[in-house]
C-alpha cells in the first residue's frame, strides 16, 4: 500500500492525462447517445400520441421521457434497441402519472371474428365486387381512423401502437410494457378486432 504513495511526477501527469481522456471519451459517448435518441424522437412521439388521450399530454410525456433518458444515459447498453429503451421509460412515466391498469376483461368473448369488418362493408356496399370494400375504407378520414384507435381500450391500444404502428416485435412490445409475450399476442388480437368494430361503425355510418 505504502508504495502507491511513491508516484513520480511523470506518472501522475500520465494519470491526469488518462483521466482527461476518459472524460473526453465519456463526453463524446454522451453526445452521440443524445444525438441518436433525438433522431428517434418522431417515432417516440408517434407512439406517445396514440398511447395517451391528448396531444398536450403526449408532448409532456415525450419531453419528460427525454429529460429522464438524458439523465440516465449511462444505464443504456450500447448495441441494444434504443427506441425500445426510450419507450420503456415513456411507459413507466405514463404509469407513474397515474394511468390505471384497465379492467378490460381479457377473456370475455368478442362476438365478431376477424372477417367482421369486411363482411359488414360487403353488406353495406352490396355486391359491388372485390374492391368496393376497399373504396369504403378509403372514404374514412384520417380523423375517423385516429378516433377509432382512440376508442380502443388503452391496454389493447398500446400493443397495437407498438406492433402495428411502431413495428416492434412481440418480444420488444412485451419488454416495453412489462407483460408476458402471450398477453401481447392476445391483446393484439383482441385490440385489432375492437378497432375493426369501431371502424365498421364509422364506415357504415359514412356510407
Amino acid at each position: 500500500m505504502g508504495t502507491a504513495l511513491l508516484v513520480s511526477p511523470e506518472m501522475s501527469e500520465t494519470g491526469s492525462e488518462t483521466a482527461a481522456r476518459r472524460i473526453a471519451t465519456e463526453e463524446r459517448d454522451r453526445a452521440r447517445f443524445e444525438e441518436d435518441a433525438l433522431a428517434l424522437s418522431d417515432q417516440v412521439y408517434r407512439v406517445a400520441r396514440h398511447m395517451v388521450g391528448s396531444r398536450e399530454e403526449a408532448e409532456d410525456l415525450v419531453q419528460e421521457t427525454y429529460a429522464r433518458a438524458f439523465r440516465s444515459w449511462r444505464t443504456f447498453q450500447p448495441g441494444t434497441n434504443l427506441r425500445a429503451w426510450l419507450l420503456r421509460i415513456l411507459t413507466n412515466l405514463n404509469i407513474d402519472r397515474g394511468r390505471k391498469q384497465q379492467r378490460t376483461p381479457e377473456t370475455q368473448p368478442l362476438e365478431e371474428g376477424d372477417y367482421f369488418l369486411y363482411n359488414r362493408l360487403e353488406e353495406s356496399v352490396g355486391d359491388g365486387g372485390g374492391e368496393a370494400e376497399e373504396r369504403v375504407i378509403e372514404r374514412l378520414s384520417q380523423d375517423d381512423i385516429v378516433n377509432a384507435l382512440a376508442a380502443v381500450p388503452h391496454d389493447f391500444r398500446d400493443v397495437i401502437v407498438l406492433v402495428d404502428l411502431g413495428d416492434f416485435s412481440y418480444q420488444d412490445a412485451a419488454q416495453i410494457l412489462d407483460i408476458p409475450i402471450g398477453t401481447v399476442m392476445s391483446r393484439l388480437h383482441r385490440g385489432r378486432r375492437v378497432l375493426k368494430r369501431e371502424l365498421a361503425e364509422t364506415a357504415t355510418e359514412a356510407d
Binding site: 418522431d42 408517434r46 438524458f70 369486411y118 375504407i137 384520417q142 384507435l149 393484439l188
Partner: protein, 76 residues
Amino acid sequence: MCDCDGCEQMMQPYLDRALTEEQRLEAEAHLDDCSYCRKRYRFEETLRVYVRQAVEEEPMPPELKERLAALRTPLL
C-alpha cells in the same frame, strides 16, 4: 387442409409472420383455393397499411423538437 373458420383464425398470425412453416403452408393452400378468404386477407393487409398511413400523417410539433434539443447536455 383448413376450413374457412380455421383460415380466419390464422389471418392475423399469418400477416404477422408468426405462423409455423407448416401452418403457413396450410393457410396458403386454403387461400389458393378459396377466393372468399383470399379477399378478406387482402383487405386486412390494405387496412393495416391504411391505418398506419392515417396515423403517420400527424407529424411531431416542431416546438417539441426544439424543446427536446434544448434538453441536451451542453458540451464542456
